[in-house]
């Protein structure tokens, strides 16, 4: 088919029409719709590039769509393939790095020593204030170092965290522990500035944790992610929202009845028996979950 240059609609019109043609006859689900929308954005960008190079809009649209090739081919290629199950867990096992284990033990010993110093200062021994400050600094630094070190480790289920991000978590942990330490020193008769400084540092630590948490991306290995997806898709309430709604109604009913029975039994038979109503409600709830969430496969 040919499109005339005068087709109205401006930039992208041709792309939209050609894209609809390419997807004609394809059974559209959310997955296909998503792919189509993604392709649309990319095609518009490609057409913009071609027209910027001097090509006419309709020809550019035609060319961009042609470059894509057969849409069905792409759809087939993006069909999810069943991955291998968790059977090969052994082969994926990552043993902890012995050096890391040793580092952690040594650092923990150091932190424990710092805590012992603080505990002694608080109870038995008369310790110079400077020594207590040093102890707090040591404990905070060790906590930060252990945190960062642990996040840098590859485990069976997770990739190591990038160095900068791991260092960020380590720094946040250091600041948080240092803030607690400053608070403790304030309680140990240090001046008010310690409390204020501690509070400020705590705010910085919280902000840092918040930033890191909000920008955190997946760190799990592919096989863990796949397993999670499979597990997620298989529970009944995500597959069948009506069942989830029924479950909600049943839950309210069960507990209303239990509460009424509890009240009635308390007023008639007394405390000795009324608690059975709550147990009954709990049992009914458990059976309900077993029957509804993990419904036997037909």
């Amino acid at each position: 088919m040919t499109l005339s240059d005068e087709t109205p609609g401006g930039a992208g019109m041709h792309v939209h029409r050609l894209l609809d043609e390419a997807f004609a006859g394809v059974e559209m689900g959310p997955e296909q719709q998503d792919l189509k929308e993604e392709m649309r954005g990319n095609l518009v960008a490609r057409v913009a590039e071609l027209t910027a190079a001097g090509m006419g809009e309709p020809a550019a649209a035609r060319r961009a769509v042609d470059e894509l090739g057969d849409v069905r081919g792409i759809l087939d290629a993006t069909e999810p393939q069943p991955g291998p199950s968790g059977a090969a867990w052994q082969s994926r096992r990552v043993r902890p790095d012995p050096a890391f284990a040793v580092r952690t033990v040594v650092l923990s010993a150091l932190a424990t020593a710092g805590l012992v110093v603080l505990a002694l200062a608080a109870t038995l021994v008369d310790m110079p204030f400077a020594a207590q400050v040093v102890a707090v600094v040591v404990v905070a630094a060790v906590a930060g170092a252990i945190t960062a070190d642990a996040l840098r480790q590859e485990t069976t289920g997770s990739h190591p965290m990038p160095p900068a991000r791991a260092a960020g978590y380590g720094a946040a942990m250091l600041l948080a522990v240092a803030a607690l330490g400053a608070g403790w020193l304030y309680l140990r008769d240090a001046g008010l500035p310690w409390l204020i400084a501690g509070a400020l540092v705590l705010v910085v630590a919280a902000a840092l944790f918040t930033y890191l948490g909000a920008t955190q991306t997946n760190r799990h290995k592919a096989w863990v992610v796949r397993q999670q997806q499979e597990a997620y898709g298989s529970d009944r309430f995500t597959e069948d929202p009506a069942a989830a709604a029924r479950f909600g109604i049943y839950t309210v009913t069960v507990w209303l009845v239990a509460a009424a029975a509890f009240l009635a039994l308390t007023l008639t038979a007394g405390w000795a028996w009324s608690w059975l109503a709550v147990v009954g409600g709990f049992v009914a709830m458990t059976v309900l979950i077993a029957r509804m969430l993990f419904a036997p496969k037909p």
Binding site: E37, N42, D70, S158
Partner: protein
């Protein structure tokens, strides 16, 4: 003919690294599909381009493996763009694959040079004599 078969071989070799190449493109900033395609095409001076069809499948596989995440941009004009962001897992896999490739490349370079090295030293010997 010879040229052609060489191109096919290089393309095969490159195809095996599509995932890593895409992860590498996303390493610095989030990008959308055509941007990724263009960066790969332009970076090689047009000598190599990964088919868009291949890339669409790659994005979906990488997402399924948790190596990248997708989100829609807020373009109001034309088509909205689907941006991809690399995850920490993606960075780890990229780094590992890049290291594996560097090691492999060194070994292959060494092995391919074995013969060349001796021959060139032969010629120098012959020339000097």
């Amino acid at each position: 003919m010879v040229d052609n078969s060489r191109d096919v071989l290089a393309a095969d070799l490159l195809r095996g690294h599509t995932d890593t190449i895409v992860l590498g493109v996303l390493r610095r900033e989030d990008r959308y599909g055509f941007e990724i395609f263009k960066r790969i095409r332009d970076a090689t001076g047009g000598r190599h381009e990964i088919k868009e069809a291949t890339l669409y499948a790659t994005y979906r596989r990488l997402m399924k493996d948790g190596l990248i995440e997708a989100y829609w941009g807020d373009e109001s004009q034309g088509g909205r763009r689907k941006y991809y962001r690399i995850t920490d897992a993606g960075r780890a896999v990229y780094r590992r694959n890049a290291a594996a490739w560097a090691a492999t490349r060194d070994i292959i370079d060494t092995l391919l040079d074995l013969d060349d090295g001796s021959r060139s030293s032969d010629t120098t010997v012959r020339r000097s004599s």
